[in-house]
Every structure is written in structure tokens, then in C-alpha cells.
């Protein structure tokens, strides 16, 4: 059996482990356009900011590849998939045959056309180790940077540059930062913390022109007419599933590669997982790309199991993010900002001065979302309650208490989770 995995991040790791648990014999080839062994991609902002060194970027010990007998092809770009001949084509012209193929290529940064950008040197994206290394490499020469986009990637890039004592301005089109992952209140707290640390945050505006002579940037002009002087621009508007190489392959691509509950695409024996995949959402069942690290691992695991012949069912992606900005912890999960608030029951607690905020979102007595800022201890209890669809009607009064725990839930739940009954052979 020839297993081929395109992509070498966390979805690939989940898949490799799932395959090797079931098949010790098959050949596994991992192909990546990047030059590094698997690394903690979200750590690139830590690397930029000097919080960690390059050694700590490694997600796994280097012997992961030899231990799992993986044929690793780094710096190789897959340009096409031939589903009839069952081969993937590489940029150099080589073709690699597969019996089972996993597409885990992740996302590409989206760069909109901005006037004046084409001939400029210092325009960066921020999604790979290489991006971070390039930015860090020129950091001594940066006098002032503008980050376009106030989402997670943009704010982390801004924080990294700020840690290097670089003046940074974040420009966000929406009326607040972190509009997709967090609600208004949490976004406000984060923006306040960023500004307190010297990062300018401009909302409801966008960069319309990058100014400067030749390759050099002198500043950016905003839609409002304002001019911000800078010499470096980071474009962090968002990522798109990296699926353009599938053109003409016959594999169904919507926004991402469309997959079923076993992560199989419309192509036989072809699977997709991680940021490139468009899988079912936990709540609606509707298919959406969901660029979430833990979800990528889970999807990789399910795909790997299916490739090795065991069917596991994906229960749907649950968005969740845990991000720290200037030592303020934030965790968000599920539905945090419902479109039609009247259909939900929302409880909040806030102490803005101390950067504390808690929001619980219920629908039909089921917990569907939570936002925690500041004290995020044991936040995972909420993610468990969401996944298990526990009836919260009897417990809703206690949900906002700072030390919310299992004693606020039922005895039956506690026994199911922690008691030996039913789990050890003979009860003590």
C-alpha cells in the first residue's frame, strides 16, 4: 500500500500516527513545499518576538520520520493530482503513485491587489516559519510597520514586532479587531491591551495605496485619506484553502476541498484534512473550511484511519482559539457572536479594568459557545459540555461562577467521568 500525504503539518502528523497504528508495512510518503520538518506553526509569532529560539519550533523530535519509516520530500511542490492514473505530479516533473492520498496542504495567505504594491520589497505575509524568519531578518532595519488585518494572524504579527520594539499600526476594515473569533467585548479588551502596549489600532478603515519610490515603502494611504508613514507592510487579511493545484483533477473544491465524515473527497481514495478541507460544522452540519489547529489533528487522525481501512466518524468541527495578547489570556469556543441573539440565551460577566470577561452562550438549554478573558482556568470543561450536548437547564445559574466545576453538574456526569465503576474490571 502506498500512502501519500501532501503537507507536513499537524494534520499530516495525525494521519501518520493513525496509519501506523493500523498498518506497519505500507509505504508512507510525505511531501511538503516547506523546507522544515513539522513545526508548531502558531509559534511563528513567538519566534518573531524572540520568546522562543529556532530549536523550540520543532513540533516533534526529528526521529519521528525515521521511527514511522516515512519517505520525506521537503521543498517539493505538488502541482497536480491525476486521479485516474493515481499519481501526484511534482513541480520538477516527477510523478509519485499513490493508493491512498491525503491532501493536507493547509492555507495560503490571501493578498488582495493594493495599488502600489507590485514593485515593493517589504511586503510580507505571516503564515510560515519562513515568513517569520524573513521578517525577523530585516527587523533591525524596520523603523515602523503597518499590519493590514486585525484578526488572529495580524495581531500576533503586530505583537511579535512590538516585542522587538518596533512601532506598529494595525489597520482593520471591520469595526473591531478579532471579529471572527471573538465577540465585541473580548475584542475591545484585547484592543485596549494592545494600545496600552503601544500598538496603534485603527478600525473601520483600510489601506488603499502603498506609497514610496521604487522598491522602498514610505507609508500607506488609508481609505479615510489618512497617511501612515512606514517602511514595512504585513498583509494578514486571511488564509484561503491551498487547493489551486487541484484544478482539472475532478476533485470537488468549493471554498476548500469538500470532504465527507471520513474525510474522503469526491475522488476515490483521496482524502483531505486540516485548513485545506471543507468539512461539516459541529452545530449546523454545513460544510466550511475551519482553520483550527486541534481540528486539523483530529481530521488528520480520521483521514489516516480511513486510509488504513478503519472508518471513524468526524463529529464536526468546533471552532476554538486560545491566544494570549500581552499576558492577557483569551479563550473562545463555538458560537460566540450569534447572528440572531434572540434565539440564544447569553450570560456575561465583566470587569474590564482587570481584563476579566466571561460569556456563556446557550441554545435550547445546550451550551453552544463560551468566551473567557483573563481567568481561563478549566475552560475545557465548557468544550466538553458543548461536545457532549449536555442539558444545562439545571445548571445554568452556576455557569458564570469563577470556580465553575464538576460539582456544579450532576452526580451522574461526575461518575461517568471520574468514578471507577464501569471502567475497572472488579469494583473496589
Amino acid at each position: 500500500m502506498n500512502y501519500v500525504i501532501v503537507g507536513n503539518s499537524v494534520a499530516a502528523v495525525g494521519a501518520v500516527r493513525a496509519i501506523r497504528e493500523r498498518d506497519q508495512q505500507g509505504n508512507i510518503t510525505v511531501i511538503s513545499r516547506e523546507k522544515h520538518n513539522v513545526y508548531g506553526r502558531p509559534l511563528i509569532s513567538y519566534l518573531l518576538g524572540g520568546l522562543i529560539n529556532e530549536k523550540r519550533m520543532a513540533y516533534l523530535p526529528n526521529d519521528f520520520y525515521s521511527q514511522n519509516r516515512i519517505n520525506l520530500l521537503l521543498g517539493s511542490e505538488v502541482t497536480a493530482v491525476d486521479t485516474k492514473a493515481k499519481k501526484v505530479k511534482l513541480a520538477g516533473g516527477d510523478a509519485i503513485p499513490y493508493d491512498k492520498l491525503l491532501l493536507a496542504t493547509g492555507g495560503d495567505p490571501f493578498i488582495p491587489p493594493i495599488e502600489g504594491m507590485s514593485d515593493k520589497d517589504r511586503i510580507f505575509t505571516f503564515t510560515t516559519w519562513e515568513d517569520a524568519a524573513k521578517l525577523k531578518g530585516i527587523a533591525p532595519d524596520i523603523n515602523r510597520a503597518v499590519v493590514i488585518g486585525g484578526g488572529l494572524i495580524g495581531l500576533k504579527a503586530a505583537e511579535g514586532l512590538n516585542l522587538l520594539d518596533k512601532p506598529v499600526t494595525v489597520v482593520e476594515l471591520a469595526d473591531r479587531v478579532l471579529s471572527s473569533a471573538f465577540d465585541r467585548q473580548a475584542g475591545k479588551i484585547v484592543a485596549r491591551k494592545m494600545m496600552a502596549n503601544g500598538i496603534d489600532v485603527i478600525t473601520e478603515d483600510t489601506v488603499v495605496r502603498i506609497e514610496g519610490d521604487g522598491a522602498e515603502i514610505s507609508g500607506v494611504t488609508l481609505k479615510s485619506g489618512d497617511f501612515i508613514p512606514c517602511d514595512t507592510v504585513v498583509v494578514a487579511i486571511g488564509v484561503r484553502p491551498a487547493a489551486t493545484f487541484l484544478k482539472g483533477s475532478g476533485i470537488e473544491v468549493n471554498r476548500g476541498i469538500v470532504v465527507d465524515a471520513s474525510m474522503q473527497t469526491s475522488g476515490r481514495g483521496v482524502y483531505a484534512a486540516g485548513d485545506v478541507a471543507e468539512a461539516a460544522d459541529f452545530f449546523s452540519g454545513q460544510k466550511n473550511p475551519m482553520p483550527i489547529w486541534p481540528d486539523a489533528y483530529i481530521q488528520g487522525d480520521i483521514a489516516g484511519a480511513a486510509m488504513a481501512g478503519e472508518k471513524k466518524e468526524y463529529v464536526g468541527g468546533l471552532a476554538m482559539n486560545s491566544i494570549e495578547f500581552f499576558k492577557v489570556s483569551t479563550i473562545s469556543m463555538g458560537v460566540t457572536n450569534p447572528m440572531v441573539p434572540a434565539e440564544y440565551e447569553i450570560h456575561t460577566y465583566q470587569d474590564i479594568q482587570n481584563y476579566q470577561y466571561r460569556k456563556i452562550v446557550l441554545q435550547n438549554d445546550r451550551l453552544v459557545g463560551a468566551v473567557l478573558v483573563g481567568n481561563v482556568d478549566r475552560a475545557g470543561i465548557f468544550s466538553g459540555l458543548i461536545r457532549e450536548k449536555v442539558d444545562m437547564a439545571p445548571f445554568r445559574e452556576s455557569l458564570l461562577t469563577p470556580d465553575f466545576g464538576f460539582l456544579n453538574l450532576s452526580r451522574e456526569i461526575r461518575n461517568r467521568l471520574f468514578a471507577p465503576q464501569g471502567k475497572v474490571e472488579d469494583n473496589p
Binding site: G14, G40, R41, P42, L43, Y46, L51, I52, R56, A58, Y59, L60, W293, P294, Y297, I298, D301, M320, N321, S322, I323, E324, S329, I331, M333, V376, D377, R378, A379, G380, I381, S383, G384, L385, R387, E388, D403, G405, F406, L407, N408, R411, R414, N415, R416, L417, F418, A419, P420, K423, V424, E425, P428
Partner: protein, 149 residues
């Protein structure tokens, strides 16, 4: 594998499991020294919950899950499962992003804010049975061969 299970009715809310855990993971492995003199006192990896002034109490710990949500959420690779099934965290590699705290449905990962490191049960590798289990005066914690669910 052997796991730690909790008998809720036997828990008296004394927190000695936490004392045992802190002591075991201290430099001196002596409770008095650990609590009084060590500059970096560890934080407990088991959590005793109490309600109604302690009338109900329960000690909760890591389940060492078959498919650990903490491991899958960890962005640095600090959390790994060894061949025996024990889920451990490599403090050196941990960056304190709290993704594991977000993902663990058992609330079994603690934040060591002073060190900015996540903290979790390691089943006491240097002992025959975990310190929390040995410290429990009413045998509310049992260490037995059993499943996660």
C-alpha cells in the same frame, strides 16, 4: 493501563492529595520545605472541588485519554503520549498558550502563571503509585488497571 479514579462519597475534602502532589513534584520532596522554603513551589496537578462549604467534595485528575484532546490542541508538541499510554507535558517545550486548558474536557490541566507553563498529572514516574493516591486518608482515590470511559 493503570489510571486514577475517584470515589466521590469517600472524599472528605482534606486536600491532602494536592499536598501529596505538590510535595512529590517539589525539589526537596518534603512538604514543610516545599511549602515554606522553596522559591518555586509547584502547583497541584489534581484539583479538589468543594461545594456548600465542603459538604460535597471531589478530587479530579487527568484521565490519560486514549485520544487526548490536550495533545491534539498543543501547538508546540510539548504534550505527548508515551508507549505506556501516559500523557506527559515537556515543560521546556511548553510556551504557555493554554490551548490544552481550552481543550481538556476534564479540566485537568492547570496554569502555572508564575512559570507560564501548563501543568498536568504525570502519574508520578518515580513512584509505584501516584502521590495523591498514597496521600488520601480515606482511600477516595484508587489507582487501578482500567479504561478511560
Amino acid at each position: 493501563m493503570k489510571r486514577i479514579y475517584t470515589l466521590e462519597d469517600a472524599c472528605i475534602g482534606c486536600h491532602l492529595c494536592e499536598v501529596g502532589c505538590i510535595t512529590e513534584h517539589s525539589l526537596s520532596k518534603d512538604p514543610v520545605k516545599a511549602f515554606l522554603h522553596e522559591s518555586e513551589r509547584p502547583i497541584s496537578r489534581c484539583t479538589v472541588e468543594e461545594l456548600h462549604g465542603g459538604i460535597i467534595s471531589l478530587s479530579t485528575t487527568c484521565r490519560h485519554c486514549d485520544e487526548p484532546d490536550c495533545l491534539r490542541a498543543c501547538i508546540s508538541g510539548a504534550i505527548q503520549k508515551n508507549a505506556e499510554g501516559v500523557v506527559r507535558i515537556d515543560s521546556e517545550q511548553c510556551v504557555g498558550c493554554w490551548s490544552c486548558v481550552m481543550a481538556c474536557p476534564y479540566g485537568a490541566i492547570q496554569r502555572n502563571l508564575k512559570k507560564k507553563k501548563a501543568n498536568k498529572c504525570d502519574l508520578c514516574p518515580d513512584r509505584k503509585s501516584p502521590a495523591c493516591v498514597d496521600a488520601c486518608p480515606n482511600r477516595a482515590l484508587v489507582y487501578r488497571e482500567g479504561s478511560q470511559k
